[in-house]
Subunit: 387 residues, 2 copies
């Protein structure tokens, strides 16, 4: 549409209007104007400005109960589209969408085997899926602006301890298409973003998303801003040293090894009463048997809920988020909630604890949101041209 170094300069009102069209979806001028406190002449000018450069398209008219009908607009072809990818351990999920989230293409690619960490296998799957998505390209989609990828690693800016993370492994088989902005973000942070915008934390600018599954992690949102930390390690609570008690030697990263599902299931199986039948093979079975009322399963679920409550209490004492959204294989289960709430609130300050509302889609939806945000800042020119 135009070269990256010659993005059109827009008036503040036009930028605000575009932002609303992206965030709220198709709207009419009389909807947007009063919302932004802009007069009708200013709205006219803003829309004209945006239409001229292709950021906004007219898509029809709407008729109220009376009076002249209003023209409806949406983010235009020239605004382009983004690709969001969740590079997960078992699935690679992809969404291709416009900035106002019209889904144009999507795929869920199941990996042949579960990957223990970010590796070439995942990178290759991402490369395939991104290439396939780009091949689908249609003219009405406009230019591809951003590719966002959610990674199961810490994400840091180049220059710091980049090499200590595995994040660059994503590029072993995958090369980002040229001329397109790339956004990398930790997958738990992405899930937090999604819960904030579409899930259990709607209208909560401050909260923590805590993932309890094979791995343990937290995505922290304070005042509407994702907290990443100096080394991208904010929320790496799986890495909490543990135990933390007088006389005992703490071990780095032990919290995850103790709280993760693998250790949990090992404990469950070691502890399983002889007269309670075969012990559960995985967390799904443990949870379903607990739900069915099996006492042995219930005991273990309760014990785990207590541990989760203590973990939450630790986070609350540090950042006091007010709301904790639980996700992940174990965390998403409502069975944990009562005990977890009780323990967390007893050990620290008032916290609401809720289950994730988005499940396994949270991560893609989050990286989609981040990719859109980046595309929008690019188009509106309020960010460095090349980071």
């Amino acid at each position: 549409m135009f070269p990256a170094d010659a993005r059109p300069s827009l008036t503040a009102s036009a930028r605000a209007v575009f932002r609303r069209l992206v965030l709220d979806g198709p709207s009419t001028r009389p909807q947007i104007g009063p919302l932004l406190g802009l007069s009708r002449p200013t709205m006219s000018a803003a829309i004209a400005e945006l239409e001229r450069i292709g950021y906004v398209d007219e898509i029809g008219v709407v008729q109220g109960t009376m009076g002249r009908r209003a023209v409806k607009y949406r983010a235009g072809r020239g605004a382009g589209h983004i690709i969001a990818v969740d590079a997960g351990a078992t699935h690679v999920r992809l969404r291709l969408a416009t900035l106002d989230r019209r889904l144009l293409h999507s795929r869920v690619h199941r990996l042949p085997t579960r990957q223990l960490m970010l590796n070439e296998e995942i990178s290759a799957a991402v490369a395939d899926e991104v290439a396939a998505a780009i091949a689908e390209r249609q003219d009405e989609w406009g230019p591809l602006r951003v590719v966002g990828i959610a990674l199961p690693t810490r994400v840091v800016d180049k220059g710091l301890d980049w090499d200590a993370t595995r994040q660059n492994v994503i590029f072993s088989r995958f090369s980002p298409p040229g001329g397109v902005d790339l956004v990398l973000e930790n997958n738990v942070n992405c899930a937090a973003v999604a819960e904030r915008f579409y899930g259990a934390a709607k209208d909560w600018p401050t909260f923590a998303y805590i993932q309890i599954g094979l791995k343990i992690g937290m995505g922290l949102m304070l005042g509407g801003e994702l907290v990443r930390g100096r080394n991208g390690a904010a929320g790496e609570i799986g890495h909490l040293s543990f135990p933390f008690a007088p006389g005992l030697l703490p071990v780095a990263g032990e919290a995850e090894r103790y709280m993760g599902t693998e250790a949990l299931i090992a404990r469950v199986r070691a502890d399983w009463p002889a007269d309670a039948g075969a012990p559960p093979l995985d967390t799904r079975e443990l949870l379903s048997r607990a739900e069915a009322g099996e006492p042995a399963a219930l005991v273990h679920v309760d014990r785990h809920a207590t541990d989760v409550g203590a973990l939450i209490a630790a986070c609350v004492s540090v950042v006091d988020p007010g709301l904790v959204v639980l996700g992940g294989g174990m965390g998403a289960s409502p069975l944990l909630l009562p005990k977890t709430r009780e323990v967390a609130n007893r050990l620290s300050y008032p916290v609401e604890v809720e289950n994730s509302a988005l499940g396994s889609d949270a991560t893609v939806l989050g990286i989609e949101r981040l990719a859109i945000d980046r595309a929008m800042s690019f188009l509106l020119g309020d960010d460095p041209i090349t980071p």
Copy 2:
């Protein structure tokens, strides 16, 4: 100068100029203009605007190596002044200053006995000192804009769990002067603010200040913003439940009871070797004997440093601040640093650990900064008139 509901409206440039004069101290137009990217005519208009309403006073001229000399300006009499009070356990410290931090009056009031918590005794001392400061009032100081008080309690907005904190005890003997804005803030948070502006965290928008003394607490600064949390409990790491280990029952608030100086000294005395002379009576003695090289003292300092390192590691795993500034009776000692650094970095992610640069003045300086910020937002009208 003018009623609260009729503050003059200022142009954006005038507001920016005033903000610079407050933050940078006396300056000339050619200093401020280029800094803000404002042309000379705009600077003229801004200064004229500010002078007319008394926000800015002319204080002299400065001569460069060549050319005409420039007029120097500073925050004016009409901008007024603020009072900052640190309501501490052993001292009440007060500073009365203009918005650009010209110290007009200050007092350090030593309480007859150490207070264990915020109580009427402290409230009475605050009332006395504030009254005395107000009695000193001189016309050239302009109006009193804000009284800020640093409290040794959690501080929450009215309406949440206000009653669970003791913060209202400050009003048992002290009544804020009428027509003046009041700012309350937790004392550890204040110390963090001071370290950020004037101390060890200058140029670190993200860091944590951790106080290790009689009490344990943290002030968290992320991206230049103080993190308070939903219940004003962010950083209440003294309240961390402890121990946190399989099979052990965690107790709320136990971290402080274990890590605080009282428990530390009790452990030292219980453990003191019979052939090492009389055990130390307090932390000051423990530290000075460690500094002198006494092995028994060194062992205990080292052990405590290890515990502090583990505590820092826990905070780093949650928020990854990149820098931790240690303050408080024990924390301010450089003796702890080597071991603390080693343990913290071994157990989590890269953190720099430094000693407080401000000592016991940190808290007053921090609340002074916050009071000034509030006064400035009041004058510039970018805040709700009455919260």
